[in-house]
C-alpha cells in the first residue's frame, strides 16, 4: 500500500505543475459557468464532472508516456484517421446536410476529431525522422499530408474543423522551418483564390459569412445567435451581472449556451474583467507551452509543444471571435470551457503531450 502511493506520487511527478494549475483553473471556471448556464438541467454538472475526471486521467496517463513513444503513434493514428475519413465520405451519416459522422453501432463518432491530434503527431514524427536530411521535398510531402485530410473534411462539409486542422498543420510546418517565401507566396495565392472558394462554399456557409457581416439582415434566423450573444456580452459591462444573474443566459436567449456559446454566458455574468482574466489564463497556458517548446530536447517535442500551444489559442480566438460577432459561426467549442466530452478529451490529451514533453527532458537526454 505504502509502496503503491509512493509510486503514484512519483508518477504524478510527470505532470507539469504550472499547466496543471492553469488547466484546473479553467475547468473550475467552466464548472461554474456550466452550472449557471444549465439551471434547469442539473444533470449537466455531474456529466461535466465525469467528463473532466476521465479526461484528466487520460491526460495524466499520456503525460507519463515519453515523447519518443508518443511519436510512434503518429503514423498509425494518421492512417486510421484517413481510412475513417474516407469511410465517412463513402458510408457516413448525414446530419444537417453534412456527412461527418460514422456510426459504430451504439455510438456515432467524428473521425475529424481524431485528425486534430493525429495530423500534428504524424507531421512531427515525420520531421523528427528526417531531421538531419530536411529538404524541400519533405515540406512538400508534409503539405500533402496536411492537404489530404483537410480536403476530405472540407467536402463533408465542415469548414470550421477543416480550417482548424489546416491551421495546426500549418503551424507545424511553420515551426519546422517552412520558408517565408513559400508562406507569403501561399498567402498571396490564397487571397487571390478567395472568390473561387466563395463559389465552392455551400449555401449555408455563405449565409453564415453574410450573417456575420450584417446580423440584423436575418434577426430571427441565422443572425439570431450572434445578435443574442453580443447582447449578452455587451450587457455584461465591466463587472458583469454576477454569477447566475445574467438575464440573457438565464432566460434562454443564448443558444447552445453550455457548449459553443458558453463565452456569452461568461461575458454576461463576469463582465470585461472576467474576460480579461480568462484570456490571461489562456495566454499563460500558451506561454507555458511555448516555454516547454523552447526547452524541448527533440524536434518532435519542440514541434508538438509549439503547435499545440498555438493551436489552443486559435481555438480560443475562433470561438470568442464567433461568439462576440467578429467571425462566422463555425461550431468550434471554447477549449476547456465548453461542455462536451470529446472536445475535452482531445484537449487534455494535447495537454498531456505537452506535459510529457515538459517532464521527459532529462529522461530522453540520458
Amino acid at each position: 500500500m505504502q509502496r503503491n502511493s509512493h509510486w503514484l506520487l512519483r508518477r504524478l511527478g510527470h505532470l507539469d505543475g504550472v499547466l496543471l494549475i492553469l488547466v484546473l483553473m479553467l475547468l473550475g471556471i467552466s464548472l461554474a459557468v456550466v452550472a449557471s448556464a444549465s439551471g434547469q438541467s442539473p444533470g449537466r454538472i455531474s456529466g461535466h464532472l465525469i467528463n473532466m475526471g476521465l479526461a484528466l486521467m487520460v491526460m495524466a496517463v499520456v503525460a507519463n508516456v515519453p515523447p519518443h513513444i508518443l511519436s510512434k503513434f503518429g503514423l498509425p493514428l494518421y492512417v486510421t484517421g484517413l481510412v475513417l475519413l474516407v469511410g465517412v465520405a463513402l458510408f457516413g451519416e448525414i446530419r444537417n446536410g453534412s456527412r461527418r459522422w460514422l456510426s459504430l453501432g451504439v455510438m456515432t463518432f467524428q473521425p475529424s476529431e481524431l485528425m486534430k491530434l493525429a495530423l500534428p503527431l504524424m507531421l512531427a514524427w515525420y520531421f523528427q525522422r528526417n531531421e538531419t536530411t530536411l529538404r524541400a521535398k519533405h515540406y512538400l510531402f508534409g503539405a500533402a499530408m496536411l492537404l489530404v485530410p483537410f480536403l476530405l473534411i472540407l467536402r463533408q462539409p465542415d469548414l470550421g474543423t477543416a480550417m482548424m486542422i489546416g491551421a495546426s498543420g500549418f503551424y507545424l510546418l511553420f515551426f519546422a522551418g517552412l520558408s517565408w517565401k513559400v508562406i507569403l507566396g501561399g498567402s498571396a495565392i490564397g487571397a487571390a483564390s478567395l472568390p473561387l472558394v466563395w463559389g465552392m462554399m455551400h449555401d449555408y456557409q455563405q449565409r453564415r459569412v453574410l450573417t456575420l457581416l450584417d446580423p440584423s439582415a436575418d434577426p430571427l434566423g441565422a443572425g439570431y445567435h450572434i445578435i443574442q450573444s453580443t447582447i449578452a456580452i455587451g450587457s455584461g459591462g465591466l463587472f458583469g451581472k454576477g454569477w447566475m444573474q445574467g438575464s440573457q443566459s438565464q432566460l434562454d436567449f443564448i443558444p447552445e449556451r453550455t457548449t459553443d456559446f458558453i463565452f456569452a454566458v461568461f461575458g454576461e455574468e463576469f463582465g470585461y474583467l472576467g474576460a480579461i482574466l480568462l484570456v490571461a489564463i489562456y495566454l499563460a497556458v500558451v506561454a507555458r507551452g511555448l516555454t516547454i517548446a523552447a526547452r524541448a530536447p527533440t524536434l518532435f517535442g519542440r514541434l508538438m509543444a509549439a503547435t499545440l500551444s498555438l493551436n489552443l489559442f486559435t481555438y480560443v480566438f475562433v470561438n470568442m471571435g464567433m461568439v462576440s460577432g467578429i467571425l462566422p459561426v463555425v461550431g468550434v467549442p471554447l477549449p476547456l470551457m465548453s461542455y462536451g466530452g470529446t472536445a475535452l478529451l482531445t484537449l487534455l490529451l494535447g495537454v498531456g503531450i505537452l506535459m510529457s514533453v515538459a517532464t521527459h527532458r532529462q529522461l530522453n537526454k540520458s
Binding site: L134, R135, A136, Y139, L140, Y171, F174, F175, G177, L178, S179, W180, K181, V182, Q228, T230, I231, A232, I233, G234, S235, G236, G237, L238, S247, Q248, L251, D252, F253, G267, E268, G271, Y272, A275, I276, V279, Y282, L283, V286, A287, L290, A293, A294, R302, A306, S309, L310, F313, T314, V316, F317, M320, G321, S324, G325, I326
Partner: protein, 630 residues
C-alpha cells in the same frame, strides 16, 4: 531555387526555431489583443446600448384591457353592460389542418352553420397568427368537453372574454349602437390618433351610436403588467403592474319608459321620432324604425345576417333621426311665418284671399293649395292653423330664395345640429348660390314658390326639425342636442354632469314669436289641422303638421293615397311642443309613407306627450303589459 531555410547544424536550427517561437508568441498576443479590443467595444464602449437591448429582451409589457363603461338611462337602468363568457378561439398558425380541427370540434360540441360562416369571415379578415372566435358563450359542459380534449387540438383555446350585452332591445340600437371586433380600418384610425397603444389588450371598439361617439370615455385606459419573459415568450414573473383604469359610465337624458311608449306609439311604421327638452337640449326619446339587434354584432356578425340587414330595402341600419333626409313640407311654415314677420314682409294682421292656387306673374302655371278651392281669407295665424299653401307661395316670392335661405339657416336648417352621435346628416337648405355650385344652373322663380311650403330641394332630418322647434319653444335659444347627461368616474363613483351643451341666441322679436306660437296652438285647437290629436289633453300643445310629397303629382291630377303603392305615399310629419305656455318637451315625428301629418304623425306625438306630462300610457300598451304580467 530553395524552398526551405537550410538547417546546417543544430544551433542554427534551434536559433531559427526560437525566432519562430517568438513570432508565434507575437501572433498569439495579437489575437488576444483583437479579442480584448472587441470585448472593450462591446462591454465598455457599447455597454449602454446592449444593456437596453437585453432589458427589452427580458421585459415584455402584457396589456390588461380595462372594463368598458356602462350606459344607463336617466333613471339608472342599464342599456349596455359587460359580462364574461367562455369563448372557443382558434389560432390557425398553430394547427396542421384547419378543416380537420373544425370537424373534430364539430363532433365535440354543436357548431351552427351561422357560427361557421361568421368564423370563416373573421378568418378571412385576420392574419394567420391571430386568434379568431368560433363560438362564444360556451356552456359549462362545453367548456369541460373542450378542456378534456385540449391535448389533441393544438391551436384551440377556451378563453374568458368580456362581452357587451344590450338588453334594451332593438329600439335602442340606434342610440346606444354597438361594439365590434377591431378591424384594419379601426387600427389605422387608432394609429393616426396615436391611441393604438391603449388598445393593445382590447378586442372590441365602438362601431356606431354612443359606443362610437363616446369611445374614448367608455374604453378606459389599458393597464400593463411588466413581465419578465424568457426567449420563448413565457412569463417568468411580474416585475411591476400598472392596473387598467375602467371606462367611464354614461347616463343619458333619455328615459327608457318614454322610449318604450314612443316605440309603441310608432307602431310598425318606418320613420323616426325624437323628443327633447327645449331647456337643455337633452334627448328624451329617439326612435328610428326599424331597429335591429345590436347583440348580433358584438363578436362578429355572420355574413348572411349582415347581408340581410345591409341590403334590406327598409334600411334598418340607418338612424333615420340623424341621417334620414326628407322634405320638411308644411312643418316649415311656422319658421317661414316668423321669417316674414322678422323681415317686415308681413304683419300678423295682413290678409290674403286664397283662391286655391297661385300663379307667378306672366305664367299660366298654377301652384295649387292642398285644399281644393282654397282657404278664403287668411291671416298669419290662420295660415299656420289651416296650413294655407297659397299664403306661403306668396310670402316665398316676396322674400326671395336668398333671404329665405339666410332666415331658415338661423334655425339650424342645412347644418348639423351637433348631437353627440357620429354620422349626422346636415340636410340641405337650398340657395341660388348652392344651385349654381351644385348643378351649374340658374335658380328658377318657380323653385322659390314651392320652397315656401317645404318642398323642392329643401331636405331636413327629424333631428333638425326638433332642434329648430325647440328654438320656438324656448324663446330663441339654439342648443345642441345631447344624449349623454352625466358621466361617472369608475374610481370615485361620482356622477358628474357634462354641463350645458353649446348654445347661441337667435334674435327674434318676442311679439313676432308669440304670434307664431299662437298659430301653432291654433293648429291643435278645434278648427286646426291637428285638433283631433289634442282632444281631451290636460295640457296645451303647440304643433304643426306636414305632409311631404314622395312622387310628383301631374298638373291637374289629384293625390289619392289609396291608389298609390305604400312606398309612394306621402311622408307624414309633425312637430310640436308642450305645455305650450312653458314647454318642457319638443317632439318631431317623421313617418315614411305615413300619409298625412295630422292623421298619422300627430297621434304618435300625443301618446308621447301624454306619458311624459301626465304619466299615462297608451291603453293598448297597458293591456300588453298586463298580458306579460299574467
Amino acid at each position: 531555387m530553395r524552398y526551405v531555410t537550410p538547417l546546417k547544424n543544430l544551433d542554427r536550427e534551434l536559433a531559427c526555431f526560437h525566432r519562430r517561437l517568438k513570432i508565434g508568441g507575437v501572433f498569439v498576443a495579437l489575437l488576444a489583443l483583437v479579442l480584448l479590443g472587441r470585448g472593450f467595444f462591446l462591454q465598455i464602449f457599447q455597454h449602454e446600448h446592449y444593456i437596453q437591448r437585453a432589458e427589452s429582451n427580458r421585459i415584455s409589457l402584457v396589456p390588461a384591457a380595462p372594463n368598458r363603461g356602462l350606459i344607463v338611462d336617466r333613471k339608472g337602468r342599464i342599456l349596455a353592460e359587460n359580462y364574461s363568457a367562455y369563448t372557443l378561439e382558434i389560432t390557425r398558425a398553430d394547427m396542421a389542418s384547419l378543416e380537420q380541427t373544425l370537424t373534430e370540434l364539430g363532433k365535440l360540441i354543436e357548431i351552427t352553420p351561422g357560427q361557421l360562416r361568421r368564423f370563416r369571415r373573421l378568418l378571412s379578415e385576420s392574419h394567420e397568427f391571430e386568434t379568431v372566435p368560433l363560438k362564444s358563450k360556451l356552456t359549462d359542459e362545453e367548456v369541460a368537453v373542450l378542456a378534456a380534449n385540449r391535448y389533441r387540438l393544438p391551436g384551440v383555446e377556451v378563453k374568458a372574454r368580456l362581452f357587451r350585452n344590450y338588453q334594451a332591445g332593438p329600439g335602442m340600437a340606434h342610440v346606444v349602437g354597438f361594439i365590434g371586433r377591431i378591424n384594419d380600418r379601426d387600427l389605422t384610425r387608432l394609429r393616426q390618433d396615436d391611441r393604438e397603444q391603449n388598445y393593445r389588450g382590447s378586442v372590441h371598439i365602438g362601431k356606431t351610436g354612443l359606443e362610437q361617439s363616446y369611445e374614448t370615455l367608455l374604453h378606459g385606459r389599458t393597464g400593463f403588467d411588466q413581465m419578465e419573459t424568457d426567449a420563448s415568450g413565457r412569463a417568468v414573473r411580474i416585475l411591476s403592474r400598472i392596473p387598467p383604469v375602467p371606462g367611464k359610465d354614461l347616463r343619458l337624458h333619455l328615459d327608457l319608459d318614454l322610449q318604450a311608449v314612443s316605440e309603441h306609439a310608432f307602431g310598425d311604421y318606418l320613420g323616426g321620432l325624437v323628443a327633447l327638452d327645449p331647456r337643455t337640449g337633452g334627448i328624451l326619446a329617439l326612435v328610428s324604425k326599424p331597429g335591429f339587434d345590436p347583440n348580433l354584432f358584438v363578436d362578429g356578425i355572420d355574413p348572411e345576417t349582415w347581408k340581410f340587414l345591409n341590403e334590406s330595402p327598409e334600411r334598418p341600419m340607418v338612424n333615420r333621426v340623424l341621417r334620414g333626409i326628407y322634405p320638411p313640407g308644411s312643418t316649415i311654415k311656422p319658421f317661414m311665418a316668423l321669417a316674414g314677420l322678422e323681415l317686415g314682409l308681413r304683419k300678423p294682421s295682413d290678409q290674403i284671399v286664397d283662391p286655391g292656387y297661385f300663379s307667378l306673374p306672366n305664367s299660366r302655371h298654377q301652384f295649387r293649395d292642398w285644399k281644393r278651392g282654397g282657404h278664403g281669407v287668411v291671416d298669419l295665424r290662420r295660415s299656420i292653423s289651416q296650413s294655407c299653401d297659397v299664403y306661403y307661395y306668396r310670402l316665398a316670392v316676396d322674400m326671395g330664395i336668398d333671404r329665405m335661405h339666410d332666415a331658415l339657416a338661423q334655425y339650424g336648417f342645412g347644418e348639423k345640429t351637433g348631437i353627440d352621435l357620429d354620422g349626422e346628416s346636415s340636410g340641405l337648405l337650398p340657395s341660388r348660390e348652392w344651385k349654381q355650385r351644385r348643378w351649374k344652373k340658374a335658380w328658377y322663380p318657380g323653385e322659390t314658390v314651392i320652397s315656401g311650403i317645404g318642398q323642392g330641394y329643401h331636405l331636413t332630418t327629424p333631428l333638425q326639425l326638433a332642434a329648430a322647434t325647440a328654438i320656438l319653444a324656448n324663446g330663441g335659444t339654439r342648443i345642441e342636442p345631447r344624449l349623454v347627461e352625466a358621466v361617472r368616474d369608475p374610481v370615485t363613483h361620482v356622477w358628474q354632469t357634462l354641463g350645458d351643451a353649446p348654445r347661441s341666441t337667435v334674435k327674434i322679436n318676442p311679439t313676432n314669436l308669440a304670434v307664431v306660437r299662437e298659430g301653432m296652438m291654433d293648429v291643435m285647437r278645434p278648427g286646426g289641422t291637428a285638433a283631433a290629436s289634442a282632444a281631451g289633453a290636460a295640457y296645451t300643445i303647440a304643433g304643426k303638421t306636414g305632409t311631404a310629397q314622395v312622387v310628383g303629382i301631374k298638373q291637374g291630377a289629384r293625390y289619392d293615397a289609396s291608389r298609390l303603392a305604400r312606398q309612394h305615399r306621402d311622408h307624414a310629419l309633425f312637430i310640436a311642443y308642450a305645455p305650450a305656455e312653458n314647454p318642457t318637451i319638443v317632439i318631431a315625428v317623421m313617418v315614411e309613407n305615413g300619409g298625412s301629418g295630422s292623421g298619422t304623425a300627430a297621434p304618435i306625438a300625443r301618446a308621447v306627450f301624454d306619458y311624459y306630462l301626465t304619466g299615462k300610457r297608451p291603453g293598448s300598451m297597458n293591456l300588453e303589459a298586463n298580458d306579460a304580467a299574467e
